[in-house]
Subunit: 187 residues, 2 copies
């Protein structure tokens, strides 16, 4: 692919990621995405034949972002610090969460209303994150209870995103992530 074409593709994906978070995936038409990316609509079909293909690229992009975050968290020196780093990442996103909800959570919720291959792909992101959190609790010596603790932590983080979005209030994220860090510290 030429540099210009690779650049168009990147801009289309960035636009799709942004529009899906802001307006929902279903509501973002190929025409909207083309306009946001400043790529002529007629050219979009060269990169993405279907809306589904754009959805796959969005999930792929979110997965790459997640993996970059996880590599950073893995550099922390203890399981507790790693877990706190992942809570901190939610706090750092508080304004984005309050304006459009969790990009992964809201996309998953929307796609699972229809199910299908794309919904499964989006859930794989959740699954990876849940497994990673569980591994940290195991490293903390919480073998048997590690899965339940992971479900608890990810639920709290997802749930406060839903509330912060519903009330457009980033302070809810401040309150809940503070509580979660204290809880992790006290384990």
């Amino acid at each position: 692919m030429s540099a210009a074409r690779a650049d168009n593709r990147t801009r289309l994906i960035q636009a799709a990621v942004k529009m899906a978070h802001r307006h929902g995936f279903e509501k973002s038409s190929l025409a909207d995405i083309a306009q946001e990316a400043k790529v002529p609509l007629g050219n979009v079909y060269y990169y993405f034949k279907t809306k589904e293909a754009i959805g796959e690229a969005i999930v792929e992009q979110r997965l790459q972002e997640y993996e970059a975050l996880r590599r950073a968290w893995d550099e922390a020196s203890s399981p507790k610090e790693r877990l706190c780093a992942c809570v901190q990442a939610v706090l750092a996103n508080k304004d984005i969460l309050a304006s459009g909800g969790c990009p992964v959570g809201t996309l998953c919720s929307e796609l699972h209303k229809e199910d299908g291959a794309l919904a499964k792909k989006a859930s794989a992101l959740f699954a990876e994150h849940l497994d990673w959190i569980e591994a940290q609790f195991k490293a903390l010596g919480r073998g048997d209870g590690a899965r339940g603790l992971a479900v608890h932590l990810l639920s709290a983080l997802q749930g406060v995103s839903v509330l912060a979005h519903g009330f457009h209030d980033p302070d809810l994220v401040v309150i809940e992530t503070g509580r979660l860090k204290e809880w992790i510290g006290g384990l």
Copy 2:
């Protein structure tokens, strides 16, 4: 309104509630809702002039359901029992949550992608529930921390609905509601 007309209206609202939960509000057209309710599409406009009006009726219906639940919870004899009753209601819904997510949470998330009056109306449901939970924690003598505890409990309940939906796994609701009841008992 005649009995036949009231009956049509009720059937349209029930159909809209069901379709919005199953497929999302945006994706449920007036034609889909009319078909599900077995009301001729031409007659729908007599009851609901716009999609927005259907949205309002869905929120109104959810609010009535919530108020009925809350009256039942209020009959429990202590704040801890009232809080556990509200957690129990989530557990009782585990299969619905795993198949379509939290009806209120997913509707709120979807509507807030666009904002507007309907999104605000849907959030009022969250606000009522959060206030009620906070009042229970206050009654437990947790004056200053009551808001934070309420945010924590509602976040956990909303978040586990997002996960159960993403994985289509009702057992996650069993695990998390069990933990929450223990936590409430130990406060």
